[in-house]
């Protein structure tokens, strides 16, 4: 990490003083102040929508239109918030590198992985073509990506895409790395690899700024931490200390919400069998993903299904829902169950609602079609800690946690016997995740609804479900 004008060791790589972000007169974030020096790590943690990402955007100078930042930002000893857009963008890749939230979407879909890294070496680091190619080959080797140079982003797994993005982002040898939710949607194994990659940065003398809602990431990276809530700093200090002895109640809640800390669920009720799968096989194209899957689902039962990414968990769920005909074996619903007795919950709640229609409209449609009184729907909403007022909004105007609960209420409206939930909380912060899953278990227990939860979180499977099934690829 040698840059010609390396700042002296006591100059922080990045210093933020009283940074606030406003929408009109509304303060969305701040004031926040922090500094990260070379070889140090700072983790910004907080609930979903706490404005964490705004901090990253303000530092880079890419705040969305209509938002305005105040306070000072200094990068490598140079005040940047007063600079024009062109000068700020000149820092990108050279002084400050950024790891994207969703690596798949951050890679050009039409360009192969190799060239996307090579061009960074060539145009950002200024290497000659041959040198850039070699540097890329070196990166791919170090990152365990050998052979992926000719692959298109669509042919990369999430973890691989994140590593390609890492190589591309850091090719310019910037001394600072900014990572916004780098582990979003990754399974446990990939999660660990990315965290390992990040942990390497301060060790190599870089400054690392990570934004995350996962306690495990903060724990693994150490350094300093800032806990945000509603855009305000709740607590800060050394990560080790804060995680061990949280002072603010909110931080305590956050830690307690870690699935590892959840109590083990009680024994299942002995309800009637509502859904049976026998010798089920799931295929993708010609490839057999899952074979010989058996399941007898009882009313009120909670079953968790875990397994590595790409094993076919979602396809299995669709087969159970009857959306896909089984490649082999059978799925049978108990006699008397109607067409709508099996419902799904989705990973990305905004994608599961018609985006241009108010939530109330969506829910009323369903209530009307199934002859359910509107009062019943509002009862469900209240039981899920939602107030009917928010239904006036569109799906993109409520938080992910709220929307997931609304989708639970929506599913309950059709009086299902089985709920199939596909990673319903993977995009939510720990507190919201816990609340959502707790409400789900309460309601399904009350209503005698069976639930199959697909998750990559071993602790959730262990602690929340009555029964946990781990899928493995057939030999």
């Amino acid at each position: 990490m040698t840059v010609s004008d390396t700042p002296s060791s006591d100059t922080p790589s990045i210093a933020v003083d009283a940074l606030s972000v406003f929408f009109g007169a509304t303060r969305l974030l701040g004031p926040v102040s922090f500094r990260v020096a070379a070889g140090e790590t700072l983790v910004i943690m907080g609930e979903t929508g706490a404005g964490k990402s705004l901090a990253a955007q303000a530092i880079l100078g890419i705040l969305p239109k209509g938002l305005r930042a105040e306070g000072s930002i200094t990068i490598n000893g140079r005040r940047v918030d007063t600079l024009g857009p062109a000068e700020r963008s000149a820092l990108w890749g050279r002084e400050i590198a950024t790891l994207p939230q969703e690596p798949w979407r951050a890679l050009d879909p039409l360009m192969r992985a190799g060239p996307q890294v090579i061009e960074a070496h060539r145009y950002v680091a200024g290497l000659p073509p041959e040198g850039a190619r070699k540097a890329c080959a070196r990166d791919f080797e170090t990152l365990g990506l050998q052979g992926a140079e000719r692959r298109l982003p669509a042919a990369l797994s999430g973890g691989m895409a994140q590593r390609v993005a890492f190589a591309a982002a850091t090719a310019g040898q910037a001394p600072i790395l900014l990572a916004d939710e780098p582990t979003k949607g990754l399974d446990a194994e990939r999660h660990a690899r990315v965290v390992g990659l990040l942990a390497q940065v301060p060790e190599d003398g870089g400054a690392l700024l990570v934004i995350t809602h996962e306690v495990a990431v903060a724990r693994a990276l150490g350094g300093d931490i800032i806990v945000l809530r509603d855009g305000r700093v709740i607590e800060e200090g050394q990560t080790r200390h804060v995680l061990a002895k949280p002072q603010a109640p909110y931080t305590r809640d956050l830690l307690a919400a870690d699935p590892e800390a959840w109590p083990k669920s009680e024994n299942p009720t002995d309800g009637a069998i509502v859904l049976t799968a026998k010798d089920l096989a799931v295929t993708r194209g010609e490839r057999v993903l899952i074979e010989g899957f058996d399941l007898s689902l009882r009313a009120g039962e909670r079953v968790a299904v875990t397994g590595p990414s790409g094993i076919g968990k979602t396809t299995l769920l669709d087969t159970l829902a009857g959306l896909i005909a089984p490649a082999q074996g059978s799925v049978q619903r108990a006699a008397g169950l109607g067409r709508h007795a099996v419902q799904k919950l989705y990973q990305d709640p905004p994608a599961a609602f018609p985006p241009h229609v108010s939530l109330e409209r969506s829910l009323r449609d369903i209530a009307r079609l199934h002859d359910v009184a509107w009062d019943r729907v509002t009862e469900y909403l209240t039981a899920l800690n939602l107030y009917p007022d928010m239904l006036k909004r569109r799906p993109d105007a409520v938080s992910g946690g709220e929307l997931q609960r609304i989708s639970v209420a929506r599913a309950l409206t059709v009086r299902p016997a089985v709920l199939l939930a596909d990673e319903p909380t993977s995009r939510l912060d720990p507190i919201t995740q816990r609340q959502t899953l707790e409400l789900l278990s309460e309601i399904t227990k009350d209503q005698g609804i069976a639930i199959v939860l697909v998750t990559h979180h071993a602790a959730i499977a262990e602690n929340w479900a009555h029964q946990s099934i781990t899928l493995r690829a057939p030999a």
Binding site: I62, K344, P350, A351, I366, L369, G400, R410
Partner: protein, 279 residues
């Protein structure tokens, strides 16, 4: 609340075309005015659009003839107003009769997929491969001078565009989890179309329609140019453009008038549609 900063790296700039509230109001005002002109027709200026005065041909605007007179000494204002009736109804009708089946077939192709999709797509491709002009000219030849033949021919060549656009967009929407969820929840196809498809593809369709309205009128002009037209003394903007072309040097204000009417119509449509996208 979730701001976009959470779900995406950055809020996307509006995909819509330049969108300004007052502009939209202006669009609706213009449309209302045009509709008024079409409904009231030549009565607005109290002149007979067919009445000639050969010796007063090609006169510039005056108190008696607000917009001047055409090559046969007919009042331009009265003819433009009378033309508004035909042109606007042609635009609306051809957009409707091309847009409705085109959109419905597009949805059907996307909804059922498989053979239905392949069949409809091949059919649309074959229609595109058949020179549209051939179709229009032949229909016009079946009933020379008839208004309906022109309109039917134009409408027949325009539907493919709606089909292609709808099919392409609807395929994406239908594949989304939101539609799957709605199906599982028991929404009827009609309701799914209303709640999911219409809001998603509507703005794009309206843009095509706005362009299609212009296409319909200029198509009449183009047909007039190859000597396929309506019976005199019918006034229609496209027909007038062709009729007045010979006088473009000595009286350019004549041909500019129907062109200006069409520009205003298309502009009004675009402004009031607000978002404008093409497939």
């Amino acid at each position: 609340m979730t701001d976009q900063t959470q779900t995406g790296a950055m809020p996307r700039p509006r995909r819509a075309w330049p969108r300004i509230r007052p502009a939209r109001g202006l669009g609706f005002t213009l449309l209302a005015l045009l509709a008024l002109c079409a409904v009231a027709g030549p009565d607005l200026v109290g002149q007979d659009p067919a009445k000639q005065s050969l010796l007063d041909a090609r006169q510039p605007p005056s108190a008696a003839n607000l917009l001047g007179t055409d090559h046969l000494g007919r009042d331009m204002a009265a003819r433009l107003l009378s033309g508004a009736q035909l042109s606007l109804s042609l635009a609306v009708l051809s957009v409707l009769t091309a847009g409705l089946p085109g959109t419905l077939l597009g949805i059907a192709a996307a909804w059922y997929g498989g053979w239905t999709d392949r069949l409809l797509t091949s059919f649309a491709d074959a229609v595109l491969a058949l020179p549209g002009l051939l179709l229009v000219l032949m229909l016009a030849a079946i009933s020379p001078g008839s208004w309906w033949a022109l309109y039917a021919g134009i409408s027949l060549t325009l539907w493919v565009e709606y089909f292609r656009y709808t099919r392409q967009r609807a395929r994406i929407v239908i594949a989304e989890p939101a539609v799957e969820a709605s199906r599982l929840l028991g929404l009827t196809p009609a309701l799914i179309i209303r709640r999911h498809l219409v809001p998603e593809i509507g703005p794009g369709l309206l843009t095509i329609a706005a362009f299609g309205a212009a296409t319909a009128v200029t198509a009449v002009a183009a047909l007039g140019f190859v000597s396929v037209g309506v019976r005199p003394p019918t006034a229609e903007w496209g027909v007038m453009m062709t009729e007045l072309l010979p006088y473009w040097r000595e009286a350019p204000f004549l041909i500019l008038q129907p062109v200006a009417c069409l520009v205003i119509t298309v502009l009004a449509l675009h402004l009031s549609v607000g978002g404008m996208r093409r497939p």
